[in-house]
């Protein structure tokens, strides 16, 4: 009896071994002409909407690049592939998954997650393993003050979000033969790293012009009401009101300024396009300025997608919803890799990293060129104004669709 069992055992284990060998060979072959990028994105949790935008952006880039024949590295064509995990919108999980992608799945190139908090947790891991990490969805300034060598961001950092609103206010003052010094600012920023970065940028530029800051409120993250701050705004009558508090802050300020009939000639906020203020509250949102990383009407072009508008069309056809900037910047991150692989002529992470560092390219998302800290300094932010219920680019002037309407007309 025991003899027979051992024989079956032997045959079975032989079979398993054979299967394993075959499977292994198949994997080895598959990775032979495939470059695998790793990504932890938020498919569940509070960033799930933006996480999906991010993933769709990556997927579209990979599909398009493969459709055009993939990437040629040292004369050999490779297809791209992305391995995804769900980071559940939590930084700890993102870091853990990064570790897993690199040490277990053997990924040598990382794409970014959505959100600075998550990237902050992932960057030390990619740094430890010396794995390039190109991201398009984390804008916190402090990510680029840590001396990270492998982290690159294609987007403008958060302190740039509303600098242009200040510049625009200064321009308007000059047009009306006034000294920018006389411009009075009121600001309300959520007490979180992103918005405080935005605040730093605004303060720096306001100082440059010598503008006076009358109100500088920090909204608690669980804010549900801005009545106290807005009452103050009505009392001191500033020329510009600047608000940053993600989608919630944008929706609240539009709604409550409308409701309380707060009349400020210029109002600016971040995240109003993703909060859909023009779509859901067209009357109240009229004249609001919105900061954005990207817009389909900009005249940027690249060899993969054509113009920004072509990209947006292709995206909408593929995923059945209009392309948000979160998707465009994710796509751009993959394009950076495609460009760097070709120039590096090698799949050695170290060489690819150096190639990324010397990137100087144009994409449908905008020009990309990294400074020594790894952030993209070539691309400007854009400012929309809600005009007639639609977002129209009004700054920077070079790409503006239409002129700024000033002062903003209060809806009756």
């Amino acid at each position: 009896m025991p003899k027979r069992i051992s024989r079956t055992h032997l045959v079975a284990s032989g079979g398993v071994a054979l299967l394993l060998a075959l499977a292994f060979a198949a994997v080895a072959e598959a990775t032979g002409d495939e470059i695998v990028l790793g990504a932890a994105v938020s498919l569940t949790g509070k960033y799930s909407v933006n996480g999906k935008n991010t993933k769709d952006g990556y997927d579209l880039a990979v599909e398009r690049i493969n459709e055009l024949g993939g990437v040629k590295v040292a004369g050999k064509p490779y297809k791209l592939k992305v391995t995804y995990y769900d980071d559940e919108s939590t930084p700890a999980r993102a870091a853990q998954l990064t570790e897993r992608l690199i040490s277990q799945d053997g990924v040598k190139f990382m794409l970014g997650a959505y959100g600075s908090g998550l990237t902050k947790a992932m960057a030390p891991v990619t740094e430890k393993y010396k794995v390039p990490h190109v991201e398009g969805n984390s804008a916190a300034r402090e990510l680029f003050t840590q001396g990270y060598k492998y982290l690159f961001a294609v987007l403008s950092t958060s302190d740039y979000y509303l600098r242009d609103a200040v510049n625009l206010a200064a321009d308007v003052a000059k047009e009306h033969r006034k000294d920018p010094k006389t411009v009075k600012l009121a600001m309300a920023f959520e007490n979180d790293p992103f918005s405080l970065d935005v605040r730093d940028g605004v303060l720096e530029d306001a100082k440059k012009y010598g503008m006076k800051v009358l109100i500088d409120d920090k909204l608690p993250p669980e804010i549900n009401d801005m009545a106290a701050t807005l009452t103050k705004v009505r009392a001191v009558k500033p020329d510009v009101l600047i608000v940053s508090g993600h989608e919630k802050g944008a929706a609240l300020v539009v709604r409550q300024t409308g409701e309380m009939k707060i009349d400020v000639p210029m109002m600016a906020s971040t995240h109003c396009d993703s909060a859909r203020i023009a779509e859901t509250m067209p009357r109240l949102a009229e004249g609001f300025l919105c900061a954005s990383q990207w817009d389909r009407h900009l005249s940027y072009k690249d060899r993969w997608f054509g113009s920004a508008d072509d990209y947006a069309n292709r995206f909408e056809k593929r995923f059945n919803y209009p392309a948000p900037y979160q998707a465009a910047e994710s796509t751009a991150s993959v394009l950076v890799y495609a460009d760097a692989f070709a120039r590096a002529g090698s799949l050695d992470p170290e060489k690819v990293r150096d190639a990324i560092a010397s990137t100087d390219m144009m994409t449908m998302y905008g020009p990309i060129k990294f400074d020594t800290t790894g952030k993209n300094t070539a691309k400007p932010m854009v400012l929309y104004q809600v005009q007639g219920g639609e977002y129209k680019v009004v700054a920077p002037k070079k790409w503006a669709q239409t002129k700024l309407v000033w002062p903003r007309k209060l809806s009756q």
Binding site: V49, P220, N224, A228, T229, K248, R255, K261, T280
Partner: protein, 299 residues
């Protein structure tokens, strides 16, 4: 100090702050009624209170999308939430009634996380608003504005308060609820179906929270994570006002709303919450001494 001077220079600002604060307080009052009810009758601290408010907000949002007038949307949201509360009781809450207070806190805390994540999955993380279609009133030549929807919130808080008092006093179920609150075992002996009473109580709580959530959606915004401030404030109001007194709950809530708004104005929004909790500590300390003094008189 700059802000304080501003307040003295134009007293009309104080009127604005007071009105806004009191009207905000009305929404807190609704959530607090429910918490006092559940706490008093079932001996349960419902940490998922804010999540019921959030779900009420989503109910109102979808009713608004279905083009139902908000005046009907508010009671419909409340009705939907009553059913939800009843169901929640039959599924989960009945297991933790009459158990240790700590267990109820833990279980409802878990429930709050579950409801948040479910809402996130079902409704998405986007920030939503429901338009009430109401306008704004101007007082003092336009120096003070009052959104009509906030007046409706205030009226709703009053009406609900009166309804709650009358319901508990006069209706058969109200009497059963009070009997169960006094002594559940005795009520059972007397033939009261306490399980049904508890289910009603929790359903009623969910309905009141649902109405408050509908008002939140029409006054501010709705998203899956808005619950916590409502839970915390309801908790605070109930601690200060006590469990058995609907009028005290309303008064405390309105006072809290006003105090919070003034604090936000004078100290800046970042100290608004800190001020509220400072106030809570101060009131509790003061009440302790006050009670001690009363006790001395009695001796």
């Amino acid at each position: 100090m700059e802000n304080l001077r501003l307040l003295f220079d134009s007293p009309v600002l104080s009127v604005q702050l007071l009105i806004d604060g009191v009207l905000i307080g009305a929404i807190f009052a609704l959530a607090a009624y429910g918490m006092a009810l559940v706490w008093g009758v079932m001996g349960l601290i419902n940490v998922a209170q804010g999540e019921l408010v959030m779900l009420g907000g989503y109910a109102a949002f979808y009713l608004y999308r279905a083009r139902i007038h908000p005046l009907f949307g508010i009671p419909l949201a409340a009705a939907a939430m009553f059913c939800f509360g009843w169901l929640l009781y039959r599924l989960v809450i009945f297991r933790i009634v009459e158990k240790d207070l700590f267990i109820s806190i833990l279980a409802t805390f878990g429930l709050s996380i579950l409801l948040q994540q479910l809402a996130n999955t079902l409704f998405g993380a986007d920030v939503r608003t429901a338009e009430s279609g109401f306008g704004t009133l101007f007082l003092f030549g336009g120096a003070v504005t009052v959104a009509e929807i906030k007046l409706i919130s205030f009226a709703a808080a009053l009406v609900t308060g009166v309804f709650l008092i009358q319901f508990l006093r006069r209706s058969r179920m109200g009497q059963a609820i009070r009997a169960t609150a006094q002594n559940a075992r005795a009520a059972r002996v007397m033939g009261v179906d306490t399980q049904r009473v508890y289910a009603w109580t929790f359903g009623l709580n969910a309905a009141i929270c649902g109405a408050s959530g509908a008002l939140v959606a029409m006054t501010w915004v709705v998203h899956p994570y808005l619950g916590l401030p409502y839970t915390v404030r309801a908790f605070m109001i109930v601690i200060v006002a006590g469990l058995g007194n609907v009028t005290a709950v309303l008064a405390t809530a309105l006072g809290l709303g006003a105090a919070e708004n003034f604090a936000g104005f004078i100290f800046g929004a970042e100290y608004q919450a800190a001020f509220v909790f400072g106030l809570l500590v101060a009131i509790l300390v003061w009440r302790r001494f006050w009670l001690a003094r009363e006790r001395r008189y009695l001796q």
